[in-house]
């Protein structure tokens, strides 16, 4: 293994605790400070350097067992966490828990207790129900990383989105990021809203009213607080795109039509598809992003997805470095458990 020593980079013997990181779990970005987000991004840069080496592997998590517990099918997030853990020399166990195992009687907490008894230190979990990782975090000694819970949060995705934006745009303060599509059911949108606003980004959410969380419906009378930090809500995509530095399209699931939230795919495409013609309304060179998996021809046109502005594949590649950073940081705090 080729080794280098850098002031802040993760060298081969990288074991010193990261400054300013005190967390055992990563459940969402709402609880992170801007400084903590910066620390993750800086650590991810160092990890990216590791990934560029001939042997892209460091022993930072040697002896640590990371379990990927996925209650929902996932290709990229699961593979990304697995590669990240392996690049840090962790032992990785992948569990694809079927929804039916719940019905068979084993509860989520039983499963988690079993994994803990088997010696796992880090639990990366994906669950179709909002809040499931919070339940687990309350009842386990393991570090819990939320790899997506229901409609609620997907913090590692938001961090890799932010990381990707930063690499292209530098400081994000005052930048404008437009998220288009099914906001109501999107954990990616929610986590991005928290992360981006903490970094001073102006977030614009664009969707038809039926795909917005009720608390964000424009014109709905309420004396209730807003569920999110200040964002702009715009149902008209052309207006939303004015001045955009980043345009992020969200996956549209067919169930939304079946649930009567949209009249037709055709009308959705006509009003909300991110295509080259519409991209011309954004800032020149605005980044085109998508958390995947894409429905090309629905929420995004093939041309927009493959344009020079698109950084969709780069998002995927950056995901590994960001997840390495998370695994590293979360195991340093109280690392004696390892």
């Amino acid at each position: 293994m080729r080794e280098r020593t850098e002031p802040r980079g993760p060298g081969a013997g990288l074991r010193e605790p990261a400054q300013g990181w005190r967390r055992r779990h990563l459940l969402d970005l709402d609880e992170l400070s801007a400084a903590e987000i910066e620390l993750v991004l800086e650590t991810a840069e160092a990890m990216q350097e590791v990934l560029g080496r001939d042997v892209p592997r460091v022993p930072a998590l040697r002896g640590v067992t990371v379990v990927n517990l996925f209650y929902e099918p996932s290709t990229r997030t699961r593979a990304s966490f697995e590669l990240a853990a392996k690049a840090l020399s962790a032992d990785v166990v992948n569990i694809a828990a079927e929804a039916s195992s719940v019905k068979k009687g084993e509860s989520l907490l039983d499963t988690v207790r079993t994994l803990q008894a088997l010696g796992a230190q880090v639990l990366v979990m994906r669950h179709w129900q909002s809040g499931a990782p919070y339940l687990v975090a309350r009842h386990t000694q393991m570090s819990v990383i939320n790899a997506g819970d229901g409609w609620h949060a997907h913090p590692s995705q938001a961090l890799l989105d932010i990381y990707t934006m930063r690499r292209h745009l530098g400081d994000l303060k005052g930048r404008q990021v437009v998220i288009v599509g099914d906001i109501a059911h999107s954990r990616v949108a929610r986590s991005n809203v928290w992360g981006l606003t903490k970094l001073g980004v102006q977030v614009v959410l664009c969707a038809p009213p039926t795909l917005l969380p009720p608390g964000l419906l424009p014109g709905r009378p309420t004396d209730e607080p807003s569920p999110f930090p200040p964002v702009t809500v715009e149902t008209d995509l052309a207006r939303a795109l004015e001045g955009a530095d980043v345009v992020m399209a969200l996956r549209l699931q067919r169930e939304r039509m079946e649930a009567g939230l949209l009249p037709s795919l055709r009308e959705y495409i006509r009003l909300y598809q991110v295509n080259e013609e519409r991209l011309a309304l954004a800032r020149p060179g605005a980044l085109v992003m998508h958390p995947g998996p894409m429905n090309e021809g629905v929420e995004i046109s093939p041309g927009a997805a493959r344009s020079a502005q698109a950084v969709i594949e780069e998002q995927v590649a950056n995901g590994v470095a960001v997840r390495m950073a998370l695994l590293y940081l979360l195991t340093q705090e109280g690392g004696s458990r390892a």
Partner: protein
């Protein structure tokens, strides 16, 4: 054989009584109420500094027997009732099997007779199997002792069937208790549709799901003249519908729960105890109808104070630990409420938002009259001479901390864990017998 409760503040709203004095009980019945009337009694309870009120009446609780004994039994549920100051409880028929037959109703009555600490009245199903398709044999259920009909837990979803139920039950003089919820609108929601649900990524139940159903039920009560009782009303707009119906003289009564009078949907977010990540997803605050907004809570208190709401009913819904210790979407709806109801509601009195007299009324004669139970049991919910000697004696100032493991109900599912409440039941007397003593 006589028993005197001496020197307490006697609050008996039905008789306009709020005095310091004695209650004299002879042979299980109220003999006299007044200063020094208990001097000659063979036994005495010193109630100086305490409040003495008619035993509380709960027209809506779940005792879970038969079939769901891991959640609660008639024995444990009525013990919880006694501890909470309740001497009469009406149990809902969503058991396994549901109480849709005379045999099932008799079974519950016999069990209650054998093991119940307090008086149990039985509510029968509106529809066979609670399936919402055909009317249950309501006359036979009434003959077996059913005091009202409800498919609680589920609404009577079909408006035409609800119409027929109201019409048919009118010949029996018994109310239909509806759980007002438009299922097409609630659509699998797990908490109130509002900022907390949006924040947590949980599917919401809009207030309109209740309001639409309340409006429908009121129209059907107007159409049929049948007796309608609305269970657990929880939104400001639903209360506005009820208020209009009452003003129009319609035969509509309504109840509210202690939790809808005091808690908001933020309870799901905040929870109790340590919450990693800062979001509690507190399944103990998951209840149907869901906890609503502060505006709705204020409207419930106002409607209780002004008489739009007839009574407080606990909707005591005990669950086993595993029913709540799970993902929020999978968790059962319901709060174990019998033991905290009085103290929680006394908080409204302490805050000056409700008079003690009105609170006692809403927990005693209010529910008795709402369901017409006082026709069956004259004097129920009062300290009128000749009435069954049902009393609660409580210390309105005693503070205590809610500890779920300390509840005598099998259901430890309370969103109030760790909460300090002021007001404690010391003695509960049912039919002249002490059934709870601290």
């Amino acid at each position: 054989m006589s028993l005197a409760v001496r020197g307490g503040r006697i609050v008996d709203p039905a008789n306009g009584v709020d005095i310091v004095g004695d209650v004299l009980i002879v042979d299980g019945r109220i003999a006299a109420v007044g200063p020094d009337v208990g001097r000659e009694a063979t036994q005495a309870i010193d109630a100086r500094g305490l409040v003495v009120a008619p035993g509380l009446v709960d027209v809506h609780c779940h005792l879970r027997e038969p079939g769901l004994e891991h959640k609660e039994t008639i024995e444990t549920g009525t013990l919880a009732a006694a501890r909470g100051g309740f001497t009469t409880v009406c149990c809902m028929p969503n058991t396994e099997p549901p109480l849709d037959s005379a045999g099932a109703i008799r079974y519950v009555r016999e069990r209650a007779e054998a093991v119940g600490r307090v008086r149990v009245l039985v509510i029968g199903c509106v529809t066979k199997g609670r399936r919402g398709q055909e009317l249950a044999e309501l006359a036979e259920l009434a003959a077996a002792g059913a005091v009202a009909f409800s498919d609680d837990g589920e609404p009577v979803g079909d408006a035409r069937l609800m119409r027929r139920a109201l019409e048919y039950a009118s010949m029996l003089g018994l109310p239909i208790i509806d759980h007002p919820e438009d299922k097409a609108l609630s659509a699998g929601g797990v908490m109130h549709e509002g900022w907390v649900a949006a924040r947590l990524g949980l599917r919401g139940v809009p207030a309109a799901a209740e309001e639409v159903a309340v409006a429908r039920d009121i129209s059907l009560a107007a159409l049929t003249g049948g007796r309608l009782h609305l269970a657990h009303v929880s939104t400001a707009a639903a209360l506005a519908h009820v208020r209009r119906a009452r003003a129009a003289g319609l035969p509509v009564t309504a109840e509210v729960t202690p939790h809808h009078l005091t808690l908001t949907h933020e309870a799901v977010l905040i929870g109790t105890g340590e919450t990693p990540g800062g979001l509690a997803y507190d399944t103990n605050a998951k209840v149907n109808p869901p906890l609503r907004t502060a505006t709705d809570v204020a409207a419930c208190v106002e409607a209780l104070a002004d008489g739009t709401l007839d009574c407080i009913a606990t909707d005591h819904a005990p669950h086993a630990l595993e029913d709540k210790l799970c993902e929020f979407d999978l968790a059962a709806f319901g709060i174990s409420g019998l033991e905290t109801a009085l103290a929680l509601c006394l908080g409204l009195v302490q805050a000056g938002r409700l008079s003690l007299g009105r609170l006692v009324e809403a927990l005693t004669v209010g529910p008795a009259r709402a369901l017409g139970l006082d026709r069956r049991l004259p004097g129920l919910g009062t300290l009128s001479p000749g009435a069954a000697a049902d009393l609660v004696i409580f210390d309105p100032e005693a503070e205590w901390t809610v500890e779920p493991q300390g509840l005598v109900s099998k259901g430890k599912n309370t969103p109030l864990a760790g909460r300090r409440l002021r007001g404690r039941v010391l003695t509960t007397i049912c039919n002249g017998r002490v059934v709870w003593q601290e």
